[in-house]
Symmetry: C2
Subunit: 610 residues, 2 copies
């Protein structure tokens, strides 16, 4: 062993011990003939004192940043204590030292606030990983994984590995594929998730399965997506939705306790998908802040159980509202005194193509109880007051109103809600609010193919009382314009998402476990019997041999860690992430392969002309 102690370990109580340390040179400070070195390793930093007698040796073997150094010496009390670090009361009086390896000057500083840009840090990721900020993230990731494993173990879950070289059954996202040399012309696929395997394990009687496992999706990478990502993947047999919710609420609370020392004792609130969309315009609302949407107007075809407040805006001859499908509002707390410049900026923001609104209507709820609006000439103050009150605006708030087509406007008000909350500091990194979103629609309508697609995935069961609706109706959509009137549009899934601070951190469902219902589902998604058999024959077959009721959930491990770490970026929580083109810039991968590899795999390139 090159050391007897780590650089984070020695205390005043170790005084006079003879020790050997090894680590990296963080800083070198010379004071005349005396040299102080901060020696760093994974566990901390210890101050080294090189006295005058070592001066000559140091001059012949000068130390530089990031050199790997081994020292032998004695633990002494420091005259100049640094109580900010655990080893700050001692220093090592060095007797001997040995440079184990030299270092070139790093291309950026190994410090929390490094001078390295993103690209440089990714290229030299092995140096970036030395930074305390990144190390803390990976430590948190390990702690989250360990906490999850312990909780699941205590609850009788078994970690069972599922295969990585499986069959390509593209449905939803694209598969990564792997040409098989031994079966020329054929391909494996990398799993998008172990979904069907964990269901087979339930059929096999393993009743509580989990795995922390890599999954792969060949999608065009949006910011902060990775082609390979990690899930905490879980499945249980003989359960209903309530059982899953309780078990995995427990898991997340345990992680909070173990990793963040947070006693998350409150019951996690539950919200239907419909309420989430109605009140927040979003199926993963951030409920750290209490801004809800006021639905002033909606089309008749959506949210048929909800009532809008159209009376508040109708009859004013204001064309923008009158001609809009949907009019929605939020109250931004404390913003009534926004200047013209500030409100113009907000208007520009909603007009950006990513949001796509035509404009923004304001009502200032002045501190003196008066109301002032950009639509004063259509709405007398009394009406402005009524609208403002329906948004729960208080004196001093600013009401923001958007109008347009239903889907776009609802998304826009949700975006605006988040934007304002960010602006107003209402989304605190160290505050955590969990939420269950339930009762998702089972199907989504795919306009381009005029058919249904599974909102979650094709294995999700409908709510028990919606099963007859699914079985007894033809999935074909006769009247495309009126697809919302099709009975399938109202079938709810036995599915649940766990939301943390406006991010979906986990999602799952009770599964179909009867062959007949699974076939009906596949058929509803446009798969004929031949295709069903080809792609999922093994699962349909398994359902014939005593499949138990079952359900599960999968947590996005990278995302969960990043939120717990108070960061927006999952890349900061992955040791060796890829960039937005799916490249590992450190490895320079992907790359070309040899002619011999092409030959053995019996494939060739077929590049398109650009």
């Amino acid at each position: 062993m090159f050391r007897t102690y780590t650089c984070g370990e020695l205390r005043l109580s170790d005084q006079n011990k003879t020790v050997t340390l090894a680590g990296w040179v963080q800083t070198v400070r010379k004071f005349g003939s005396i040299t102080f070195v901060d020696l760093r390793d994974r566990y901390g930093i210890t101050q080294l004192l090189f006295s005058e007698s070592l001066n000559g040796q140091l001059e012949n073997n000068p130390l530089g940043r990031e050199f790997v150094l081994q020292v032998k010496g004695t633990v002494n009390e420091r005259s100049n204590k640094n109580l900010n670090i655990p080893t700050g009361e001692i220093e090592i009086s060095v007797n001997e030292f040995s440079i184990l390896n030299k270092s070139a000057t790093p291309p950026f500083t190994i410090q929390d606030d490094t001078d390295g840009g993103d690209d440089l840090r990714m290229k030299y990721r092995f140096l970036d990983l030395r930074r305390n900020a990144v190390k803390k993230n990976l430590e948190l990731r390990y702690a989250v994984g360990r906490s999850a494993r312990n909780y699941l173990h205590e609850n009788n879950f078994m970690d069972i590995e599922t295969p990585f070289l499986i069959k390509s059954t593209p449905e939803g996202a694209r598969d990564f594929v792997v040409p098989s040399r031994m079966n020329a012309g054929q391909f494996y696929a990398l799993p998008q998730s172990p979904q069907t395997f964990k269901q087979l394990l339930m059929v096999s009687g393993y009743d509580r399965y989990y795995q922390i496992v890599k999954c792969f999706r060949d999608e065009d990478l949006r910011a902060d997506r990775q082609p390979e990502f990690t899930q905490i993947d879980c499945e249980m047999a003989f359960v209903e939705q309530e059982d899953i919710i309780n078990m995995f609420e427990g898991l997340v609370k345990r992680i909070f306790k173990d990793v963040k020392s947070i006693d998350y004792t409150e019951t996690v609130p539950r919200m239907t998908w419909e309420d989430a969309m109605w009140n927040y315009g979003n199926d993963k609302p951030d409920i750290r802040f209490d801004i809800k949407i006021c639905n002033l107007k909606k089309p008749a075809t959506v949210f048929t159980n909800k009532t809008d407040q159209a009376a508040l805006i109708n009859g004013a001859d204001f064309k923008v509202f009158d001609e809009a499908e949907t009019v929605v509002a939020i109250a931004a707390p404390g913003c009534s005194e926004y200047t013209r410049k500030q409100t113009d900026e907000l208007t520009e923001w909603v007009k950006r193509p990513q949001v796509g609104m035509k404009g923004l209507v304001f009502i200032k709820c002045n501190a003196d109880g008066t109301y002032k609006s950009s639509v004063d000439k259509f709405y007398p103050e009394e009406r402005l007051k009524a609208i403002a009150e329906s948004t729960n605006a208080k004196a001093g708030d600013l009401v923001l109103i958007l109008a347009g087509t239903e889907e776009r406007t609802r998304k826009a008000i949700s975006d605006l809600r988040m934007y304002m909350a960010d602006k107003l500091g209402m989304r605190k990194n160290d505050e955590f609010k969990l939420l269950w979103v339930l009762d998702f629609p089972l199907f989504e309508y795919a306009e381009d193919e005029n058919r249904w697609v599974a909102r979650h995935h094709p294995f999700t069961a409908p709510k028990p009382d919606h099963i007859p609706v699914m079985i007894n109706n033809n999935p074909a959509i006769e009247d495309a314009a009126n697809y919302l009137a099709h009975p399938y549009a109202n079938i709810k899934a036995n599915a649940y998402d766990m939301v943390l601070n406006g991010n979906e951190i986990g999602g799952g469902s009770i599964r179909i476990y009867q062959r007949e219902l699974q076939e009906k589902m596949f058929a509803a998604l446009g798969m004929d019997a031949t295709e069903q058999q080809h792609k999922f024959g093994f699962l349909l077959g398994a359902f014939e041999y005593g499949a138990p009721p079952h359900g599960g959930i999968a947590f996005g491990f990278d995302r969960l860690c990043s939120i717990l770490g108070g960061s927006e970026s999952i890349r900061d929580f992955i040791a060796f992430p890829k960039n937005n083109s799916g490249r590992d810039v450190m490895l320079d991968a992907p790359g070309p392969i040899d002619a011999k590899q092409f030959d053995e795999l019996q494939i060739k390139l077929n590049l398109k002309q650009n």
Copy 2:
């Protein structure tokens, strides 16, 4: 929840409780109007009693094998107790039951000694997994993994995930590759191991890393190899060989304790590679039984530090020995009375092409102290006695002698040693003998290319005192016939294998951490500077920024589990294994992909004519 208790949980102390169970019907036994059902789940089997009053209902809803059944009832003491199972003192008097799912008749019985053949069981793996024999294997696997994680955690190791989509650097085994859609014409590779990543993590200062991780090798599958397999992969910084050996001897002993309740307190013996080859003809000797090779004759070029016993056989005019490079013998205990038929069978066995010997010489060490041999006419009894004694044969033993070329004959005697031990019941499944094999050669000679290849991998360091030999000599082999005389042939690696019962369960090495030495190693393997930079530029670069001394080990998780489980087959310890053609017969994978996938990936097939 569909149950209040599992089928392995209820005891006499639960008497009179009202319970709900759910599980699979193992057996149905009718006695007049009373029906007994054994209900099975992951946790055990509980007897159900359906009394007369449920008879009608049962007739309308007959139960079959593997039906999924839910029952409510009362826990009662059994009249006819079965003390072989933990629930054998009670039964459930059923009040209500519900068939949750039916089952077709399984294609084989769900029992330890199933009537299903291998192919059928693999096709219906989800049913095979229900068998107790297979379930126990997966439970053992989970226990081994958990034990390893706990030990490593307690020793400050961190689980850090490394990427799966990396760069193809074929060196040794073939890579599986993954075409990149976003980087058309380029490919990722799946990792053969996380070797370079764990070394980068050491450079990054993570000092104790582990991962239980899937690895991929596209090799022609010999029996009991899988294209995807799992490693317990570990690396440590600031360590020497002794530190690694101690740490991981501790790991394996901890696994024995946790999983097998075995206190493996003895120190694990250590053996040099040379001694292993000399005494056992094998670099992973099974030392559960004490049969060693007697080296009667060897060529001058090999084992230059060892002395053969040629005097025992020379000068007898026995051409077979005189013309052979190598003559080796073992004593088979208690086999002196083998019949002619039995010795003929042994001779046939060594003549099989897989062994490739021309014949087998016997010396029977009779109980009465006399010696009888197939080469009586060349060797008088006195000489037979001397040869026999040099093998440590006792009265009643049978000496088996092989002669031929060095490499083949040594392998043959090793095979014969194992074959005899199997025959004689000396390889007991429940006996475990660990062994460290050390001081492997760093290089192997590749005859076809007349160059050196790395015996372990190109990152293994030479023994410290052999580093100058490597640095100061030209790796080029001038005299191919005499390659053993090249200084590189005698460089020993700072590498170690852990052997359990004749299987390599783990292997590793102290790594090179200096750029210069790593470049010399790559050059010795025939890689010029351009190729080095292209394939491993990231690692060479990392070594410039303060790489610490480091080393590690990787355990073959599948193999370790199978040996601990007393089985020869790793497939029995993998939930969803592939067959010897790399196929998953349950999924029917690999398979064809769509034209759209080819189009997006910009590749096409280029199948060879057969």
